[in-house]
Subunit: 152 residues, 2 copies
């Protein structure tokens, strides 16, 4: 039986939490709205396409996409199905593992990733970039990184 020191969060901690959620919600809504207005796929597609582009010709296994995107297993399974139908990726059978598959981005997928980025990046600049100077961005980025690294 462990005795766990259960300390209540102080005000600053609660504010960090509250504001993190709020900023995320507002910013995400804005950026996704911009993508949608441009008739582009949602952000989750972008995340997948970017990872696949980075992975190159080797491609990635679905379970690897799961790890890197933090999507649930069934979420990856289904989003791949849709992106494949749109022609932006291909699923190759996996030589060394009969259960698995290798997912590879297509040329159309590369094009779409780039097209999305031109809109997405402008949205990021609008929502974040124009509102922080260099030092602030560096500080914020660093603090977020630290927090992320500490999430077990």
């Amino acid at each position: 039986m462990y005795i766990v020191k259960m300390i209540k969060p102080n005000d600053a901690t609660v504010q960090v939490w509250t504001r993190l959620l709020r900023l995320n919600k507002i910013a995400l809504k804005r950026v996704e709205g911009i993508l949608k207005k441009e008739k582009l796929p949602a952000l989750s597609w972008y995340d997948i396409l970017l990872e696949l582009e980075r992975a190159g010709a080797e491609g990635l296994r679905p379970y690897e996409l799961e790890e890197v995107t933090l999507l649930p297993q069934y979420g990856v399974s289904r989003i791949l199905e849709k992106i494949e139908k749109a022609g932006y990726l291909q699923r190759l059978t996996c030589d060394d593992d009969g259960r698995g598959q290798s997912v590879v981005i297509t040329d159309a997928g590369l094009k779409m990733r780039q097209k999305m980025w031109s809109v997405y990046s402008a949205a990021i600049e609008e929502v974040v970039g124009t509102n922080l100077n260099e030092a602030e961005a560096a500080t914020l980025s660093g603090l977020l990184k630290d927090l992320i690294s500490k999430q077990s």
Copy 2:
């Protein structure tokens, strides 16, 4: 016709964006997981209950909840229906506006809000509080606040 300077985000800006999304996802999953494990309602219920508690006997109109929680109109409509069924709020007809209603928290709702907070606050402390010192929390909180205030 406006000429808009369309600047690409610098690396720090993109990192802020990426990490904001990532931290939010990780932290939210953890906290909601804890609530669920304790068989408590989801965070969206907490947000509503807290606002109603703050509003006191007057209660709030659904459209006011919409503004403060950033939920879509139909989302508020439906969550109120469920929370009401659970007995944590009451909908009163609105004297001065025949279209509307006044939403008031019940005693059971107050109890539940408190019960949720005991778990929720511990989760916030675990995810945020224990990973930031006073100065860091203040800095992060401040930067998030600035960014929020600048979202049109």
